[in-house]
Amino acid sequence: MSRYVLRRLLMALPVVVGILLVTFMIQAVIPTDAVSAMYEGQTTEEEAAEAIAAMRQRYGLDQPWYVQFTRYAGNVLHGDFGESIRLRRPVSEEIGYRFVNTLQLTGAALLIGILIGVPMGILSAAKKDTWLDVGAMTVGLLGISMPAFFFGLLLILIFAVWLQWIPVVPRGGAALLLPALTLGLIEAAPLSRIARSAMIEILRRDHIRAARSRGMGEMSVILRHALPGTLLAVMTVIGLQFGNLLGGAFIIEVIFGWRGIGELGVKAIQWRDFALTQAIILISAGAHISANLLVDVLYAWIDPRVDYNA
């Protein structure tokens, strides 16, 4: 098992390096950089020319891109992700707490999504073509089609303004509630549909029929024999979703003012802040890879048919 994991990690390494290289090259092509972005609209470039030149030199932006890249890559290996030009502090400081925030949000949202979506999907499959099924799937469709920002604002309106159950600007732990709920409900929709179709497909299989022929009640059949297979299918989707979520549920983060890396990523791009953007891209890539790896490992662990050494 550990060899399997190690091998997968090694395979992931060239992917990461490739991503890094491509992003770096893209940024070399873009005409503006963080320094000029900071001065825009504030003053003419002539006046600021001296300051701009000084800043560029300080951050090594006057070097050709391959020089910058080698220096950057070397630093990264030492854990130094450079300094954010806009924020005047090391990138790792800023990214650190934000990544934790995004993890919190993603984790909570995924939990809500799973707890709501999967049972709903299973119930719909069990009561296929009844009102419950149709109702649940319609609601699910709404969830998939509804834009995140609209949904978020809607929830604020309902829970904070009308019902006044929580403040619009929550402090402390309660601040996680609405964004996690919004993201979670949005995630629940595809999860419930996948759970439902996975379960429907499994319920057609021979071993389900065999279990029924032994006089197992429908609920027992579903929970003992159909659920494990369904969960396997759902797990794949969860793994993919997790990677996406980590990459930045940035819309939710921006609406609710949740300081995560997604929100920072949006700002970093607007600021043309290379160091920040680069680090965030690296993290997103890392998140995707890790999530996929985790799912694969879980698969191998749970499903006895999968062979680690393959």
Partner: protein
């Protein structure tokens, strides 16, 4: 099927979540004012940022050397008096004695020098440096007196020095905190920094030892509120909701949101009619807009009233001058004489004269070239609506406009390149120096033709210190720009803030800053 068990399980699940909900109604005992920020300030290190958000925050924490009165004249604040040298390149200031920083240390000339040095220091690479580029050095003359030296007479110096980013940092605090100072500022203002929950909330507390030295302030002592909370709420909808639940004392909102709350007795509307900004159209000076007649056409064809209605729900004023209303030096006579009111008939006549004949579908053409032009702008609901009106205005006279917008960071640099004919832009500035910054050839986007006369006038705007003289020169500048039709001014908008009905003394000064020490709730 489970019934009781599920019910109990559900109860068990929901119970803990109720515990994390904060109890409401607790904040009543604390005299707190809560405001909205549209973004998280990058740092609160005064002198190191030109961002409007940062300045709003710094305004709570810092007093400055001078303030600008309603006529636009500098008045003593932390400085007691000042004098200009013969050649107008130096200003000597005398500080009032007895001002202390929040950490108890004294504000003296050394602290002032410390501040200006850090702005000038190339190592800190402060963006403020570019703003006050004419400044060369600051020297201490006596413990409470110092001198600023400029490379040339710099007319905008006083206006700039009144801005929040020229408030002073306690040198002791800066030295102690090092790079972290921006997260723990220490100033001399009515409020002191308490905490900063990165990205979501800033909390300031009242400075009990504060003395307000501005005669135009109502409250001469410590501020009324115990605590100020600034919440970072980028989303307009969320801020709107927070106002409604009472979680914000005041918030600046977009004008269509304002309309919905106008009639609501729970709220008051504060309009800053001293706002100094200008929405305008500028030209690329590529054919056919290198021809003055074409620029005149555009100038006559724009319905400014309609744009004001569409973009700002009429909160603002139409402006025919390149300078904003509200900046001293604004010359209404020049505006009415050389400006162009909405006159589509005249615009059509000018087009006919210039040889642009309407085709079968109304689209004009000259020498086989169709009247199709491109306008660029930055992405914003305001510009979107303004562009829609402009498009229709120009369509009325037979010109087809294609519109493209992008975020500021993409739009502004793109004006240095080809591919656009006109740009819809906007500036916010408090001094006529903006005319020089933008329009002294070759202009802020390097596309203006050489013009010795114009350069002379605009340089004079930069360096004429005598107020009366400067007034004349600024008038000349407005005239020169309008005569040459270098741009088409459109309007100045007035910022609208919605406050809780009980909020008192929430007003804006000349530099559009609030005197925070004066603000209170009526029931305190």
């Amino acid at each position: 099927m489970p019934n009781r068990r599920t019910f109990l399980a559900l109860c068990a699940l929901t119970a803990p979540s109720l515990a994390i909900l904060p109890r409401r109604g607790n904040a009543a005992r604390l005299k707190e004012l809560r405001y909205r920020l549209t973004e998280d300030p990058e740092s609160l290190h005064s002198g190191q940022s030109v961002s409007l958000t940062v300045n709003t925050c710094l305004n709570f924490l810092h007093d400055r050397l001078i303030y600008i009165d309603d006529e636009g004249k500098p008045q003593p604040w932390l400085a007691e008096s000042w004098s200009f040298s013969e050649d107008n390149k130096q200003i000597a200031f005398k500080l009032r004695p007895g001002t202390k920083f929040h950490d108890g240390t004294d504000l003296d000339a050394a602290a002032v020098k410390f501040h200006f040095d850090s702005i000038l220091d190339p190592k800190t690479a402060s963006p403020v440096r570019g703003q006050i580029s004419a400044l060369e050095s600051c020297e201490v003359l006596e413990p409470l007196s110092f001198r600023l030296t400029f490379s040339r007479p710099f007319a905008a110096a006083m206006i700039l020095l009144a801005g929040p980013t020229y408030g002073f940092n306690s040198p002791a605090a800066v030295q102690k905190a090092g790079r972290q100072y921006g997260r723990r500022p220490v100033g001399t203002g009515p409020y002191m920094f308490k905490s900063w929950s990165a990205g979501s909330e800033l909390v300031f507390v009242r400075n009990p030892h504060y003395r307000q030295l501005r005669p135009d302030a109502l409250n001469k002592g410590a501020p009324y509120a115990d605590q100020i909370t600034l919440s970072v709420l980028p989303e307009e909808g969320v801020a709107f909701s927070a106002l409604q639940t009472g979680e914000l004392s005041a918030a600046e909102l977009q004008t269509d949101t304002v309309e919905r709350l106008r009639q609501d007795k729970r709220f008051a509307v504060v309009i800053d009619e001293k706002a100094k900004n200008l929405l305008f159209l500028e030209f690329s000076f590529r054919p056919p807009f290198d021809d003055r007649a074409m620029r005149d056409v555009i100038s006559h064809a724009i319905d400014r009233e309609a744009i004001l209605r569409a973009s700002y729900s009429s909160y603002g004023a139409v402006d025919l001058s390149p300078l904003s209303l509200g900046i001293p030096g604004y010359d209404p006579a020049v505006a009415s004489q050389y400006g162009t009111p909405y006159d589509p008939a005249k615009a059509k006549a000018l087009l006919d004269q210039a040889g642009w004949k309407p085709g079968p579908n109304g689209l004009r053409a000259k020498d086989g070239k169709e009247a199709k032009f491109a306008i660029r702008s930055y992405a914003n609901p305001v510009t979107d609506r303004a562009l829609a009106v402009i498009q229709s205005n120009l369509a009325d006279i037979g010109i087809e406009i294609s519109v493209s917008t992008a975020d500021w960071g993409t739009f502004y640099p793109s004006l240095l390149r080809e591919g656009w004919d006109m740009g819809l832009n906007r500036w916010t500035y408090s001094d006529p120096l903006v005319l020089t910054n933008l329009f002294r050839p070759p202009g802020h986007r390097r596309n203006l033709p050489e013009d010795a006369e114009l350069s002379r006038i605009l340089t004079a705007v930069d360096s004429t210190l005598d107020p009366a003289e400067r007034q004349k020169v600024v008038s000349e500048a407005q005239k020169a720009i309008l005569e040459r039709r270098l741009m088409v001014p459109i309007l100045t908008n007035h910022q609208v803030t919605i406050t809780q009905a009980g909020l008192q003394n929430y007003k804006f000064d000349y530099l559009n800053q609030v005197l925070n020490g004066d603000v209170r709730m009526s029931d305190w």
